[in-house]
Structures are given as C-alpha cells and as structure tokens.
Amino acid sequence: MEDLNLTLNEKEALLFLEQKGTASPADIADETSLKIENATQASFLLEEKGLAEVKDEVSEKYHLSSEGTEYAEKGLPERQVLNGIDGPTSIKDLQEMLSPGMVGIATGWLKRKGWASIEKGNIIPAADVSETADEIALAKLGETAVSLEETGIDQKVMKDLIKRKLVEKEETKSRTITITADGQKIAASGLELTEDITQLTSRMLKSGEWKNKTFRSYNIDKPPKKVFAAKVHPYQRLIDQMRQIFLEMGFTEIKGDIIQSSFWNFDALFQPQDHPAREMQDTFHLESRSQLPGEYVETVCSMHEKGGDIESRGWGGKWDSDVAKRNVLRTHTTSVSIKHLADNPEPPVKAFCIDRAYRRETIDPTHTPEFEQLEGVVMDRNMSFANLLGCLKEFYHRMGFENVRFRPGYFPYTEPSVEPEVYIEELGWVELGGAGIFRKEVTEPLGIKEPVLAWGLGVSRLAMLRLGLKDLRELYQSDIEWLRRSPVCKL
C-alpha cells in the first residue's frame, strides 16, 4: 500500500474510529489526546485520503418563547378576549378589561380567524370558536427544544407561530465521522503512534532525534501562494538593452538638461525661427531665458540669414537672438547631441543618449507629452550615407529585427534624411525613427568639420511593440499587478 503519510493525530483518530465505527469530533476528543479542533482537522485529512467519511447534518428544534410560554398558560390573546365576554362588547370596554396592546393584537387575530366581527367599535363574537391548530401546538411545546417530528406539528402552523414570535427555532449542526473499509484495513495493519517531523529544528539536529523519525511529505501538487519579485521596470530593462548595444558598439553615453534654450533645441539645428514646430501649440515654452553661447551666435545667425560662408541660401529674413534665448522643454534629445558635438569637435565622436523629450501633445493611447528618445551621432572623417545605413542596420539587427528597409524622410537639419523601417509579423513595415547626415548649415557654424551621422528613435513605440501594450500611458502610469506579472526574462 502506498505511503499515506498519516500524521500522529490522524493515526490516533483512525485507531479510535476502528473501535467505534462512527463518532463525533467531540467523542474523539474525549477518548484520545486530541483537542476537538485537531480531531476535526484529522477527520477531514482522513476523508481526503479515503479512510473516513465526514458527514455534516443540521437539525432544527423548536421551543416556546417567553411570550409563547405565557400564552400556553393563559391562552392566546384572542382566546382571552373571547373568554372574557359573552356578547357584543365595545373595544373601549375591552381596553379597560385587558391592556390596550393586548386588545390590539387580539382584535387582529379575532378578525383573521373569523372568531368575531367588528362593527362600529363593537366586537361581535362568532358562533363557532372551537380550539384551533395553533392552540393545540402551543400546548404540545415547552421550553425544551424538540424536533418537528417529535411534536407532530404541521410545518405551516409552526411557521405561523414563529412569525408571531411565540416559538423560536434553533439549529444545531452535528458532525459524524465514519471509518471506511480502507480505513479499517489501514488501522488493522497496525499503526505506530510516533510523530513525523513537520519542521526540522536546530534542537533535532543537535539531539540527532531526526535519525529515528520520518519527515512528513508535502503535497507537491498543491499550487503555491503567489509571491512577486521586486524588479527593474520592464521599460527600463528595454532601455538598458539599447544602452548596452551602443556601449558594445563603442559609443559614449551623454546626458543633458531637460530645459534647453531655443538656440540649442532649434537654431543650432538650422530650424528656421518661423518654423511651425517652434510654435506654442507644439512646444512647451518656458518663461525663463538662457545666455547664448557667445562663440556661436554670429556664425549661427549668419547661416540662418544668408547661408554663412558655404554655398547655401540660408533661410533669409532676420535672425533674432531674443527668440533663441527663450527656454523650452527639449523637444528632442538632439539638443544634447549637437551641444556635445560643438564641445567636442575633434573626430572621431561616437555618442548616444536615451532620455526624455517633451512635446505639447494631448494625452491619448498613442500620444503622451513626454516620451523617451534614443539619439545617436557619429562624427568622423569620410563618414557617408552608406555608413549611416550601416549603423542603423547593425543596431536594429542587434535589437532582433531581421528585416530592415530604408525610405526617404525629411528632417530640417539632415540631408539626406532617411526613415528606417523594420518588418514585424502581423504589422508589416513599421517606421521606428528618423536619421540623416547633419546639414552643413548645422555643422559649419559650430566648427564641426567632419560629417555627422545622426539618428533618433522613438523608444516608447518600440516598447509598446515589445511589451505588448496597447496604450502608451501604461508605461508611465504603472499598474503594479502588470509589473508583478511581467517576467524579467521576457525581453
């Protein structure tokens, strides 16, 4: 026979049941060392193993209430009234005889039972007022509870009495445990009354007690209670994956201020001062102003107004340094990389930045006013468009995208400009960013002599694809249950 792994309590209960056949938990507790709750628990465990059956029964018993006891003695109020009069009597007179409350109850029942009629405040008794079923029942009941069967009272009559609050019902639950044939067999096979080890203790280790005992087994099929690991946010994990890729490709990580002057956010990138993207409806403008970097103001101004000293037309018009001083919440991290290039004009420069950018967008499932951007730049001798495509392809391949294609794009500060797309099953070609070679109008005024390859990638879009989210807001307004149930190794 398989190892049933009985606890000491189960063994004691089973041996007791072997003798009695059927018993209540109280019986077991009386005759063994177990307390009632242990006897009950052991019984259920025995039942799980098919060694005993536990049966719960509820029995209903009835006894008179204090009011019921009074009426059993004196008669029901309606009977008391009838007994007290011998012809039509006014209610007023009655109220002098009995208490007004009693008369109220009595008149109601007199009418309902048809024992009397009431006309113009007079009670007129009927002819037939013989004993009714409730009166018989009342007489049969006492203060000790009895079952319905014992009294032989009709169920409906009992219900009415309970409704009149003359009888109270009490429910008693009884539990009986009966040994099964299997239980008999096990008990007969002989049980040793020793306790298995449930928890190994330092005392047992010291005493060596564990050597003579067996360990209680656990039910390994029982599902465990859920506990959750604290973890890095899945979105941060994705960002770290990208950081790692760029570090492996030999890029330096850069960071910069969230608040940037319009100069670094727009003007240094050859965005004309009347460009729609600079307007209030697209950009978060601030009241504060920045100092302009003196060494670049003239060259940037000249490039905007007339194309500087290179063969460019520029944008024409007048470039206003006050407009350039206005601070904004950076609309792209390109403001960080262009500043880095201006500060580090010696090639080679390979830098990247993954940080937050801000656009004046109304929040909806696919737009948020703040989002992460991945920015990368390569400045070196002889860099070409072919090298830009090489950097993009390498990055996307390392991110796990097999199929990458390139389409013409447009950004005011790059030429040529390209929109890389990756192929995703079920979605087709998905645009994942923008890239290009910085225009000479951008690099010349800052003293950058070599070509600059640059790209920006909307990280949050990629995160939605990778994390299976339908709403961008879920990245920022964390649902803790979602965090708890996002496996670390899913990415």
Partner: protein, 539 residues
C-alpha cells in the same frame, strides 16, 4: 504636414501609368501613404517639397522617377502686354509681388479643386499660414489691365468672396471669416494691400480674400495669378502654380511689374538655377561609387537637366519649382533617392572606438540594484504635474524654484516636478485594487531652478507601515551607497510630526523620510498608512 488628395483618374492620366504601379513606388520618392479611398488616395508629402502638393506635381515627379519621361519639363513663356504697378505705400506693408497669366485652361470640377488645394497647401507650407506667401487666382475675362498693387485706405469697398454686398476693408477684417482669421497679419498698418484693375475694380485684398468679380468657375479659360508676400518664396510659389497649370495644357504668359522708382521685373521667371556637382562630393556624401554618366541619369529621373561635364563633374539645372535646394547636399539626396536607399550598401564605420557609460547612468544602475534588493519595484512616472498635486495635496508650500510651462495642455500638467514623492502617491492611488503591501521606487530627474537633479524616492503602503520600516530602508540604502549620513527631526508638513526626519550628509539636508501625513494620504484618495523617503543623489 500637408496631406494631398490625389484623384486616381487624374493621377493615371497625367502620369501615364496605372495606379498600382504608382502606389507601389510613391513611398520611395519620400512620402507616406495615409489612406486609400475608392477613387482617390491621400498622401502626406514632406514640407520641403511644396512642388508635390498637387496631382500635377506628383505626376511630373513620378513620370521621371518611374522612367516614363526624364529630364526637365520645358515650360514656354510668351510675353503678354499686361503690366502691374506698385505704389509707394505697399513697399512697407507687403512688398514682394509675382504675377502671371495662364491661358487656354480647361477646368473640370476636380481640377478646380486640385488648384484650390494646391493654393491652400502652399499657403501653409511655403507661406507660413499666408504670412510669407498668399496666392490669388482670377478669371481674367471680366477685368481690364493694367493692374495696380497699392496700399489702400481701409474705407475702400468691394464684394468679397462668399458675400453678396460690398464691404469695406476694415469691415472685412472684422466680419468676414477669412478676415477675422488672418487680420493679425495686417495688424499695425493704417493702409491695406489691394489689387485693382484699370477701372479700379478690386481683384484681391491680399493676404485676406479675393473679390467675387474674378471668381474662377468651370467656364474660366484665362487666368491672372497674383502672389504677394515678404520674401523670395513668393516667386517659387508662383512657379509651382504656373507649372501645375501648364502641365494641364495651359499657356504661360509673363507680366511686367513696375516699381515706383522706375525699375521693373518680368515674372514668372522659370529659368533654372545652374550648378556643378563633382563626383567627389557625391561619393563622400552617399558613400558609393557612381560615374558622372550614372549621376546625370539619376538626376534626370528626378527631373533635373543634367549632363556630364567630364568624368568628375555633372552640370545641372535645378527645376524652377523646387523650393528645397539650399545646398548641393539637397541635390545629392535626390541622387540617392533615385538610386534607391536599399541599393546603397550599408557599411558600419570602421574607426575603432571604446564605449563609455555616463556616470549618472552608472549611479542609477547601482541605485536600482540596492532598491530592488530591498524589495522595492521600479516605476517611471511622468515628470509633468500640477501645483495642486505637487504642493497642495502634499500640504507643502509653493516654492520659487519650480518651472511652470507657459501654455499647459491640461490642468493636470502645468509644471515640471521638483520632487518625486507626489508622483508615487499618485501611482499608489491608481493601484488601490491590487494586493498590499506595495513598495515602489523611482530614480529619476527633478527640475530645480531650471537644472536637472537626480533624485531617488520610495514609498511603501500597507496596514502596518511605520516610521521604523522606512528608517531601516534609508539606513540600508545609505550604507550600500557608502555615504555616511545622519538624521534630524524634520518639519516637512507632508509627514506626521514626530515621525519624520531629514536626511543629512556632511550636515547638509539632502532628503527626508517618514510617515506620510494622514491628510496627504486622504488627499491622494488612499486608505492605508504610507511611509516614504526622497533624497537628492547629486549632493
């Protein structure tokens, strides 16, 4: 960016091929297909190519790109005897003017709509909402040259489009829908731009509205076009419009513009700008070897005139309707587009460099390791918030070091945070239906006095959260950071008095910890004790 609706029938007829071939190739010239309708297609073109804002312009480009007809389109211009003179007043209001006459146009409903759409897209794209460029197209039949472009008194009257009664210029700015919309462009002027014919009939009130007199309909065959504005874009816009009309069979005639000083100018000027491109430039930008023959071929596909000058150079002529060619770079991009970006071999740069993580990122990595080890999960909330959440809900006084945004989109996002704790209480309040305890942290940026500050904040919510719990966490975190610190009774009103402490490093306050004040808990709609801390990691 403008989305252009192209009628399939028009597109097929003007391009000379079927719609499926065009739809297949059009994204590769630089456009995003927005949606396909039964009879038309909506395409978004880039703001640097206003010449593609019409079915005529797209067809012209696609004929070249798909090798149906390459090289430049030749546009003949005949002289007309029509003249227009400017007066002294207009010089200071809206001085740049370009005009043309186009005869023999056969309009259909769809081609009138296409012309109007082109006008609107140019107003937006080149014209910065009519400020720099506005265009008027007139039926020539009811008006008599020579014309005048003057600064007129606001009391001059005419019947504007969409109205039946005469209005004066001031009334138009106040009452006409176009007037109210664009009145700001004429703010501060005592006289307004006006174009009149020889009999003083009004053609147009630029940049606001045309007169009904010259309204174009299906019977119109001869057009007078005026483009007014502030800069050279005026002439480009004029070229784009006349080229589109000529593509439909119109004959272009020039107009002589007389300036007050006696000078004059003939428009439109469709003579191309000439440039020379060297193969070295092409090679260095594209990163691909191409012969001058090949380069010339690609440029002709992009509708330039191009011929090899020698093995190392190509002489080219830029189409007069192109607005985007500021520099040779722009021409070389067209070569790359014609080659096809996917036909350029992608080469990872060969220069060897070493990568280096930013110290702040490394610090954040360490902080994450510590906080996760202590059982706290990371969150990444928004940094935009409101004074109500940031200060009022926290029972904290408003501070001066905060950065408000000037035109918030909603009352929930009026400023950039200076601390991280309020965001976390918001996140806890969003998660009340989930099991407790909840323990979260963020390592992220706050903006104090316009400068980034790296902060760490953490909160714990459950029935037994108390000061000792957070005190232990802060102690462990500071030990792991290897930063000696001390704690001192705090006065931060966001916490319960007697259960709050400032965190000091070298005697300077860098943070605060404690049991969140019951009123703060209630302000965030929470119903359980919360403890938390926040420190500035820069100090």
């Amino acid at each position: 960016m403008p989305i252009i609706t192209l009628d399939y029938e028009d597109l097929e007829k003007l391009t000379g091929t079927d719609r499926d071939s065009i739809i297949d190739r059009v994204p590769m010239i630089g456009a995003d297909i927005e949606r396909l309708e039964e009879n038309s297609i909506d395409i978004e073109f880039f703001p640097d190519r206003p010449d593609l804002y019409s079915v005529e312009g797209v067809s012209r480009a696609m004929r070249g790109f798909m090798d149906i007809e390459t090289g430049p389109v030749k546009y003949d211009i005949n002289d007309s005897d029509v003249e227009i003179s400017l007066d002294d007043d207009i010089k200071n209001i809206r001085p740049v003017l370009g005009c043309a006459i186009v005869r023999g146009v056969k309009f259909t409903e769809s081609s009138i709509k296409s012309l109007m759409d082109l006008q609107e897209s140019l107003h937006w794209g080149l014209g910065r909402n009519r400020k720099k460029v506005s265009i008027g197209v007139h039926d020539l039949s009811g008006i008599k040259p020579p014309f005048k472009y003057i600064g007129a008194d606001p009391s001059v009257e005419f019947v504007p489009l969409d109205f039946t009664e005469p209005m004066n210029l001031a009334e138009i700015l106040e009452k006409h829908p176009k007037g109210t919309r664009f009145a700001h462009l004429l703010e501060g002027y005592s006289k307004y731009p006006l174009i009149l014919d020889a009999n003083d009939q009004v053609l147009s009130f630029p940049p606001i509205i045309n007169g009904t007199l010259t309204m174009v309909d299906k019977n119109t065959t001869d057009l007078f076009i005026d483009v007014t504005g502030l800069s050279g874009e005026v002439y480009t816009a004029l070229n784009i419009v006349v080229a589109a009309l000529a593509d439909r069979g119109g004959r272009i005639e020039s107009v002589k513009i007389n300036y007050p000083g006696g000078e004059s100018k003939i428009t439109p000027d469709l003579s191309p700008e000439k440039r020379i491109i060297s193969m070295d430039e092409v090679k260095s930008l594209v990163g691909m070897d191409l012969t001058s023959e090949e380069v010339a071929g690609h440029l002709r596909k992009m509708r330039y005139a191009a011929s090899p000058a020698d093995t190392n150079a190509v002489e080219i002529e830029i189409p007069p309707y192109r607005a985007d060619i500021l520099h040779n770079y722009d021409i070389i991009e067209d070569i790359a587009i014609s080659v096809g970006f996917d036909n350029i071999e992608a080469i990872f740069p060969s220069t060897s460099t070493t990568g280096e993580a930013h110290p702040l990122s490394l610090m954040q990595d360490n902080i994450r390791e510590i906080m996760i080890g202590l059982g706290y999960s990371e969150v990444m909330p928004f940094t935009l918030t409101s004074e109500k959440v940031h200060f009022d809900n926290m029972r904290r006084p408003h501070t001066e070091d905060v950065t408000p945004v000037m035109h918030p989109i909603s009352e929930d996002q009026t400023m950039i945070r200076t601390t991280l704790l309020p965001n976390q209480l918001e996140i806890l309040s969003l998660n009340q239906h989930h099991e407790l305890p909840q323990r979260i942290f963020e390592v992220g940026e706050a903006i104090v006095d316009c400068t980034n500050k790296l902060h760490l904040a953490a909160t714990s919510i459950h029935a037994l959260a108390n000061f000792e719990e957070i005190r232990e966490i802060v102690d462990s975190m500071m030990m792991e950071r290897n930063v000696p610190y001390s704690a001192k009774a705090s006065e931060d009103p966001a916490f319960i008095e007697g259960r709050r402490a400032d965190i000091l490093v070298n005697g300077i306050k860098v943070g605060v910890m404690g049991e969140i004040h019951p009123q703060v808990i209630l302000n965030f709609g929470l119903g359980q004790p919360v403890v938390g801390f926040e420190i500035n990691l820069d100090e």
